[in-house]
């Protein structure tokens, strides 16, 4: 979710296989920079693999360019990585949130599993309870929320949505930048 000079990204902590819960502390949001986070909901093995491959490409970028990547550029990088596997995709639907390293402009984007980007002005959602998340975010979000309000808003949206999905939940984690 976008706020006034800030962004927030949140996810649940459950990792399971249909009705079996295997972990309640699974990390699916990764820090790619001090003000850049990517969430990778979907197949857990692809969550880990995409994160590792992305970290590899990002490290090379930062070595060659000697600067922190912009969120827009990072979003394009993720899109490219996914589209390379167009006919045998990674089963993840990335969500990116960050602040521009120079201007501190908030940025959010989301993608489908083959890298089609979506760059809106308000919020993005992904996961098994995406419909529930859309309903909550659409009702609760308003523009120019301060960081504290943005935290409350995204938390309520996440918790009430995953409480209506049998395979999501077991706690949530929120990052506000």
């Amino acid at each position: 979710m976008k706020g006034k000079g800030c962004v927030a990204i949140a996810s649940d902590r459950r990792f399971g296989v249909q009705t079996s819960t295997l972990a309640m502390d699974f990390q699916r949001i990764f820090e790619m920079g001090p003000h850049l986070y990517v969430g990778l909901p979907g197949l857990a093995t692809d969550t880990l693999t995409v994160h590792e491959r992305l970290r590899f490409r990002l490290n090379l970028y930062e070595l060659r360019e000697s600067r922190k990547i912009k969120p827009q550029t990072f979003s394009a990088m993720v899109s490219n990585l996914l589209y390379e596997r167009r006919f045998g995709p990674y089963f993840v639907e990335p969500v990116i949130a960050g602040l521009d390293p120079v201007t501190w402009e908030p940025f959010i984007s989301a993608m489908d599993l083959i890298g089609c980007p979506n760059v809106p002005e308000d919020f993005v959602v992904a996961g098994t309870c995406a419909e529930q998340l859309f309903g909550m975010c659409e009702a609760l979000w308003e523009p120019n929320l301060e960081p504290d309000s943005l935290f409350e808003t995204i938390s309520q949206a996440l918790m009430n949505a995953f409480d209506r999905d049998a395979i999501s939940g077991w706690g949530g984690i929120v990052h506000v930048m």
């Binding site: 529930q132 309903g135 659409e138």
Partner: protein
């Protein structure tokens, strides 16, 4: 590897046909029951695929002065089900010389749906009304008649989108000190209006307008407000 489709339907002579007796005509219903009132609302759009069949089709059916039924899903089943239900209610009236109460209607809906257990009515039902003590009641159903008494429910196409919002705003779930007091009529109306506005934004089959029926001891009050038409 590259060109092989998983389901190759260009084989000479063979073609896979599929006919379904059901179709999804969209429609969303939201209902909230308070202490002395019940509110049930539906959108007014009827769709088939990406086409709009009507912008002014309500999905609410007034069964009596105390009971309103909201039905959405496959429109042919909606019509047949409501007509059969109204006929059954008329039979009850003639046999018992009194109109059916809301809990009686609730039970009848459940049994009527289960009678078609092996070729179901493809419908999502919500019965809203006042019981014999004048208290607001709400019953929600699955397509084969599982019945549940609720204080609030969202059903139909955008049901999954709206139910968590009702949990949060009407049920006060995940809120500190959230104990469920009885919701006021004004707050319930506000939450219902906001729900439909949100649903119209994100669900293609919801939009055009909302019809709201407010059931109190003085009867059924009807309200209407417009939604986005895209």
């Amino acid at each position: 590897m590259f060109g092989q489709a998983i389901l190759n339907d260009n084989l000479p002579g063979a073609k896979q046909h599929h006919w379904s007796p059901y179709t999804d005509n969209g429609g969303t219903i939201v209902a909230v029951a308070g202490d002395d009132f019940a509110i049930i609302a539906s959108d007014t759009r009827l769709i088939q695929g990406y086409s709009i069949l009507s912008r002014e089709q309500t999905k609410l059916f007034k069964l009596s002065e105390q009971t309103v039924l909201g039905v959405s899903g496959c429109w042919c089943d909606v019509l047949t089900f409501t007509r059969t239900l109204e006929a059954r209610m008329k039979m009850y009236l003639h046999e018992h010389l009194k109109p059916m109460s809301t809990p009686a209607v609730a039970q009848l809906v459940s049994t009527m749906l289960y009678h078609k257990r092996f070729f179901p009515y493809y419908v999502s039902n919500i019965v809203a009304g006042l019981d014999q003590d004048g208290k607001g009641t709400l019953y929600s159903y699955d397509p084969v008649g599982h019945c549940e008494k609720n204080r609030y429910r969202a059903g139909g196409a955008a049901g999954a989108m709206l139910q968590p919002l009702l949990d949060n705003q009407v049920g006060l779930k995940n809120m500190k000190g959230g104990v469920l007091p009885d919701i006021t009529k004004e707050k319930a109306l506000m939450v219902i209006k906001d729900s439909f506005i949100s649903a119209a934004e994100r669900d293609t089959s919801t939009g055009d307008g909302v019809i709201i029926n407010i059931i109190t001891k003085s009867g059924v009050e009807v309200m209407h407000f417009p939604l986005r038409k895209d």
